[in-house]
Symmetry: C3
Subunit: 171 residues, 3 copies
């Protein structure tokens, strides 16, 4: 094999390696959310987003903490996590579990789709507190992959959550 063919092959191998490394980094990012918020580490949780990233979810429960139904920017994510609703939740015992994602990477951006199930301890029993569909829109930054947008919709039978899930297997 001539030297140039070897170099071509090395380049191709490295590109395939980078794709696998990217996928791993994205899985790691998503899996970090739960441990961060359930341990009360609001700062590291918010760091999963880009500086202008948003967390777009609908929940009426936090209204009492002054949170609106509009997408949360980075500081608002920290505020929500340090608000009384989230603090009570983790103080009683909660797990924000995120399942394996369908991950679609295209160069420096990616989309990941998965389910989130929040379990909550109530007295001696554990209940499913929230069941949602998640769509993560991600970007490669100098500090690694980050979320530009996370859209979370309760699986309540409405078309909204189902539409997010349906996008996972298209494109």
């Amino acid at each position: 094999m001539p030297g140039s063919a070897i170099e071509d092959q090395l380049r191709e191998i490295e590109a395939r390696l980078i794709l696998l490394e990217d996928e791993r980094a994205i899985r790691q990012l998503i899996s970090s959310y739960g441990p961060a918020v359930d341990s009360g580490r609001s700062g590291p949780a918010a760091e999963l987003w880009t500086d202008d990233g948003v967390y777009d979810y609908k929940s009426l429960a936090e209204i009492g903490d002054g949170i609106r139904g509009e997408p949360l920017h980075k500081q608002a994510i920290v505020d929500m996590l340090e608000g009384s609703h989230h603090q009570r939740l983790i103080g009683e015992g909660a797990a924000h579990t995120l399942g394996p994602a369908v991950i679609d990477i295209a160069g420096d951006t990616a989309v990941a789709t998965n389910y989130s199930v929040i379990f909550r301890r109530i007295g001696m029993s554990v209940t499913v507190y929230r069941l949602s569909a998640n769509r993560w829109e991600l970007i490669r930054t100098p500090r690694g992959w980050r979320a530009r947008k996370r859209i979370t919709r309760l699986l309540e039978g409405s078309g909204d959550a189902r539409a997010r899930l349906g996008q996972a297997t298209t494109r």
Copy 2:
């Protein structure tokens, strides 16, 4: 290092890369099932199987839709997903979650073993509707990895589901 040694090493590296890519493709396939069926995309869901693939599961709930307890072929998978039972389930709010799998790849075939938990919204609460063991028998096709057979058994204490799980850590 002589050129032939470099070529040998490139071949070895590529073989290891292919194994990781195969594993990723299989994880992706399995993770695609839930978003497809919960969003009502019956066609893409059935496309996870080979043309002669089967979904072998036992459920009495769909009998009303004319589904028997025998393995479903591709068209029967679509029929099941478009039947009234599944449509009511996702219309009320459901998540077919599939957990991380033990994946054993041997060339062009693979076996994956994991749990599936179907969550279902009933009024204001979410319940665990079904808890099952899954064994996926997969094959590499020109269009990528596909399921030849998916065996799903309710974890109801019977030996059947436990036997499927037991096969995950053997071979």
Copy 3:
């Protein structure tokens, strides 16, 4: 590119490949636990640990089987899994599900953090029996990656489980 540069690049590519292979092996190890214990394969379950490995979890339920609250060594893990409490659990229908982990690999050791949810069938319904945070301390052995220590703490709102989760995103 001179031959030495090619050799350097091959070495670098292989190091990156090994990291991905290690991560896959660790995911596989963690995903094997549930299928092993729910199918009653106590020996293979205990083999996920090193010979001097321990499973450190707090549970009062097994006291009747003579299990103390102290970390279990390999033989004690087998005894626990063959004890009447675990056998009754899997005889009725149970799933020890382990979610995607945050995995931090440093050479021949690694730390993985994830949630475990044990589902249990009771009559016609399935309940969440236990919700825990897990910290796995792993080591590369001649037989592959093994757990030196698995720390499991119920998510009951105490600082203990939360401290384990908090370590996932530090270092």
